[in-house]
């Protein structure tokens, strides 16, 4: 939902970043306001996943230029955990398995860390269980998943749903979904998309990073950005995604 008066959550200007000394992002500009849904599309290697990792502070990436403000705060002054506590969330493209840490323990630890950050009371296991049972419905997950180790033995779809469950519990201001649609069958895609849609409010925003248009049939974007060669080369409305589906990416590619 576009409203020009709503608050700016994220403001990225001329962002450049490198991995192993090779510059991947070559000047990215993006403004995300509360209530908006953005899609960043592009071919493999265009820099779209790098962009999500740089914003959340992955240690493999070095910011070499530009700025990123999150609700007015310089993101690059913050550690990854401080960014999370400020309300930034990344749904991982490849969720990690953590044997020995139960899903419920992780969710409660993360939730209570945020509660403390916000000056609110921590929840004990019983109180938290009430909360998490409600959140499970968002992604149609069976309660038995809570007792299992984080993502261990989960199918691809279950792992992606688990990411959205974490989003539901943590209620971020800005969620970046990195290729959340990859590896999902159509039922799982629908469940994940319904989950995300149910979490959207006028106060938060979502940035979807995706290769394919099909996710956008379920989570309808206000803006579609095309990334290529480490820059956003075209911005349009949701019709741009349909055009990409029809014509491919070649017509937008910058000359090498």
């Amino acid at each position: 939902m576009i409203s020009k008066n709503s608050k700016v959550l994220l403001e990225v200007r001329n962002l450049k970043a490198a991995v192993d000394g090779i510059e991947i992002l070559k000047g990215v500009d993006l403004t995300v306001r509360a209530g908006e849904v953005h899609a960043i599309m592009g071919i493999n290697g265009s820099g779209k996943s790098t962009f999500s990792k740089v914003l959340t502070g992955h240690p493999d990436y070095t910011v070499t230029g530009g700025t990123a403000l999150f609700e007015g705060r310089d993101l690059f002054e913050l550690e990854p955990e401080q960014r999370a506590r400020a309300g930034l969330f990344l749904a991982f493209q490849y969720p990690v398995e953590i044997p020995g840490v139960s899903n419920s323990a992780l969710l409660r630890l993360a939730y209570n860390t945020l509660q403390t950050e916000r000056g609110l009371e921590e929840l004990d296991p019983l109180e938290f269980d009430d909360l998490v049972q409600e959140k499970l419905k968002v992604v149609e997950m069976d309660p038995s998943f809570l007792g299992r180790s984080v993502n261990e033995g989960f199918s691809g779809g279950e792992k992606k749903r688990n990411e959205i469950l974490q989003m539901a519990v943590l209620e971020p201001r800005l969620a970046i979904l990195d290729e959340t649609d990859s590896g999902l069958d159509i039922d799982a895609l629908r469940i994940v998309a319904n989950g995300v849609n149910s979490l959207l409010t006028p106060d938060n925003a979502v940035v979807m990073v995706t290769h394919y248009q099909r996710l956008l049939n379920y989570i309808v974007p206000d803006y579609v950005h095309v990334m290529d060669g480490g820059r956003i080369v075209r911005t349009g409305g949701k019709e741009l995604a349909l055009e990409l589906e029809e014509r491919g990416y070649d017509w937008l590619r910058v000359a090498a």
Partner: protein
Amino acid sequence: MTGTKAQCFERLLLGNPGNPESGSWLEAIRAAALDTAKALNFPSERHDDWRFTDLSPLFQHDFHPVDSYAGLARADIEAFLIPGSARLVFVDGCFAPELSDLSQAGQGVIVKSLAECLGDKRVEAHFAQHVSFEKDAFSALNTRFFEDGAFVHVSGEAAAPVHILHVATRRDTPSAIYPRSLVVMEANSRATVIEDYVGLGDGINLSNAVTEVVLKEYAQLQHVRVQREAKSAFHIGRCSVAAAQGSVYTSTSLAFGARVSRLALHVTQRGEGAEIHLNGLALIGGRQIADTHTRIDHAAPRGKSVQLHKCIADGAAHAVFSGKIIVHEGATGTDSAQSSRNLLLSGKAHIDTQPQLEIFNDDVSCKHGATVGQIDADALFFLKSRGLTGERARNLLTHAFAAEIIDRIPVPALVESLGRTMLDERMKVSA
């Protein structure tokens, strides 16, 4: 204080002149043990079994025998108690009947101090028959100088876990303590026995422990061994197990404490179809050294052994694992799997792992593997991205790695208290 290796050994050989009178069968063994100890001396660092383990911090002390112990109150050991267990307590190697509580032992279970049972033929039949002191000075010293020990005899099914609690106190001079245990499982019996070595304060003691375990036909024993002595202590432990036909021996051993610690665990499958499960964890930091040497002898057909050993080393700590599995000529149909998994938490920490298989027949299935890794960077970033500090995330991942072993202890109250103390400890370290 600073002495030499020779002086340290001489001091140990003096022992305790007031060592208790014993039955004649034991006197002969004690005399032989002293002769053997004198002949052997401390192991040399060139000795294959000791080459990874630097004992020099031990040689700097004069360890004195303990002939009397300071009385402790129940409150002093409250933190270590396991509700619902039958408890035998030793303080600095001496039996402490006032701290022991055998009311839970139940029918068919004898839990007594060894000194009380020297006339028992079942003690005489097994004592010093399984841990040989012929090649090991530490075992010889223990056999000569042990003050008292635990005798556990089980027929039938034990109603409660047996908790053998060895408490080392802080004394004015470094002390030599000789814990000794004998566990005899009669045919078809079942029990859980916990050997627990704890330290009060930051005393300097050498706990030189010997344990012998006998499983008769179809007996099942869950044997838990927790070494959580003071970080200034020394702990040298040896345990030998004889497993008869159809028996199931499960060991879960944890090493958290001591400046230098060592456990040599030797299990022999004597009878057909016996199963051996060995779970081990060393979690150390600072300048700690923890050495675990295990050996499994499959000496009868259709035996099974499954071993998982984990080392976690932080600071400048050094962990050693050597796991030998020998499949003897007649031991056809042996099924054995061994895994050594290791976690390095610091660039200065060091882990040596040495799985060894020796197979003397063709009809076997043996697998083994070893890995050494660091905290997974992706898992760490993931946890940070959920708001956890790096320290918290690292602790959680370390705890999860350790929990796989700790959770195998079949005593929930102990699992919980160990998990808690471990986390507290690490939080303190990182604070």
